[in-house]
């Protein structure tokens, strides 16, 4: 508990969120990190659709995707879905 935490009289009822979850980084939960081989990647965007955290972004102007490691929890669904095996899950120290 920090001094910044509000007391029970100061907070909204019913657990209404007073802050956006954008400020709550969940990327440090992961053990494995997805690493992409851009040569093998066909930009099919299946990984973008399957990512449960919306942590893979498609940039149309660049014509490419990018992982947002601040929110990627390392679940590996992207690697599992990738039809060309362009994504491998690696331990941080690897």
């Amino acid at each position: 508990m920090t001094k910044q935490d509000k007391n029970w009289k100061e907070i909204a009822p019913a657990g209404v969120c007073s802050k956006s979850s954008i400020g709550f980084l969940t990327g440090d939960w992961k053990t494995y990190t997805p690493v992409r081989d851009p040569e093998k990647c066909t930009r099919c965007l299946l990984c973008v659709l399957f990512c449960p955290d919306g942590a893979i972004h498609w940039y149309p102007d660049k014509g490419d995707i990018e992982f947002d490691y601040s929110f990627c929890k390392g679940c590996g669904i992207c690697a599992n879905q990738c039809p060309t095996n362009a994504i491998t899950m690696k331990l941080e120290q690897e």
Binding site: W8, G15, V16, C17, S20
Partner: protein, 410 residues
């Protein structure tokens, strides 16, 4: 001061009286699943919907769990929501009852009190709602069909009060009230509509940094009750307790406001004393038993016994001060439970009444009577025997058997 309005005398069973009150209360959403002895409530209400007598969205759901989920969701959008259930249906709602109170959704629910299986039993006792007493819902119990009608209308005003914002369940004894035809005085539609008014909302700070009314609205996105861990969960629960405390005043206020238009009040809204002023021996009970008990008290008074009755109309929040002051001069008290708390050393009402009397300077003798389980009839002569026992406790100066079973073959 408002004048008592002219009312229509109708012949209604308790369930029908509830449906009629809901019809008049300008309810936006009703989501319910049928279960005896509540079925007539939603059956009758669905007729009002089919006949175009109400503008309510009626949601046929696949279970009571869904009925409560739909009611909470409707309420979260700012709608006025109602549902009804009993027994196993209420038990199935258990998980969602905490979500309703935690999301501060002012849902109103009628519970046609019924025993829980096994063995299967469709008749009236308080096992179902008593098992939900810690779910954060306000609980009120009706003595007759008239009180069921009046309490439903009042329940919307209580639940939606900004100092409360808690769901309310109104109990009516299965069959004894739900299926018994009684004379009910009904207020005119427009009077009820004006009394319940429209929902108001407190302003809250949203995650977008905006101040907006506390309801789900695409114009002001808001998230209710998603997650609060070690750092905030406790604070939200403390808020709910504060709302319960506030409800003590609000229930009394609504009871007196309602008396001004209807001419009917139920004690102070929390408890109703009967012949208690000079009573030496008194019983405490909930629901329809109070009606029978009043005639027993009348008979005892004729015989010179200083008997009284305290009807506990509101069980949650527990009206601690009202009970203490009502029992101030009583020397021996019988607490009646239409429910068993297995292995708990007495029934739930007994636990709580005896507990609140612990801090009183001169404590009365307190005994527990467990009665009427599974709808077993309790006769006036059995009820009279309670007072006779209280008198012998006073003579003996001690309680020999604190927990007794009334009407059990043994």
């Amino acid at each position: 001061m408002q004048k008592v309005v002219k009312q229509e005398m109708m012949a209604l069973a308790g369930d029908q009286a509830v449906a009629y009150a809901v019809k008049q209360s300008d309810v936006d959403v009703v989501a319910a699943y049928p279960i005896t002895p509540q079925t007539i409530i939603v059956e009758k209400f669905s007729e009002y919907v089919a006949d175009g007598e109400v503008e309510t969205e009626f949601v046929c759901v696949e279970s009571e769990h869904s009925a409560m989920a739909a009611s909470i969701s409707a309420s979260a959008t700012g709608a006025r929501a109602f549902t009804a259930t009993a027994s196993a249906g209420l038990a199935l709602m258990h998980e969602m009852l905490f979500v309703a109170s935690g999301c501060r959704a002012p849902v109103v629910m009628a519970v046609a009190n019924r025993a829980l299986s096994a063995p299967l039993n469709i008749h009236g006792d308080h096992s179902d709602s008593m098992a939900q007493r810690d779910s954060g819902w306000i609980q009120m119990y009706a003595e007759n069909a008239q009180e069921a009608y009046d309490s439903i209308i009042q329940a919307f005003q209580i639940a939606e009060n900004l100092d409360v914002l808690l769901p309310v369940m109104v109990g009516l004894d299965g069959f004894t009230l739900s299926h018994t035809l009684e004379n009910v005085e009904a207020l005119p539609d427009e009077v009820v509509k004006e009394f319940v008014g429209v929902r108001k909302f407190p302003n809250v700070l949203t995650h977008a940094g905006k101040t907006a009314p506390f309801k789900l609205d695409p114009a002001n996105p808001m998230t209710m009750g998603p997650i609060a861990l070690q750092n905030y969960y406790f604070e939200f629960k403390r808020q709910q307790e504060e709302a319960m405390t506030n409800a003590l005043n609000v229930i009394q206020q609504v009871n007196s406001d309602y008396a001004k238009i209807s001419g009917r009040s139920y004690g102070n809204g929390l408890v109703e004393g009967y012949c208690l002023e000079d009573a030496e021996v008194a019983a405490i009970c909930l629901g329809s038993t109070a009606g029978t008990m009043k005639t027993v008290v009348d008979d005892l008074r004729q015989d010179g016994v200083k008997a009284g009755l305290l009807k506990l109309r509101t069980f949650r929040p527990l009206p601690v001060e009202a009970i203490r002051s009502a029992l101030e001069n009583v020397k021996a008290v019988a607490v009646m439970d239409k429910c068993m708390s297995f292995g708990g050393n007495g029934g739930p009402v007994f636990h709580e009444v005896r507990h609140l009397l612990y801090d009183v300077a001169s404590r009365p003798y307190v005994v527990n009577y467990i009665y009427g389980l599974g709808g077993r009839d309790t006769s006036p002569s059995e009820l009279r025997s309670i007072y006779e026992n209280l008198q012998s406790i006073l003579q003996a100066g001690r309680v020999e058997t604190p927990i007794q079973y009334l009407g059990l073959r043994d």
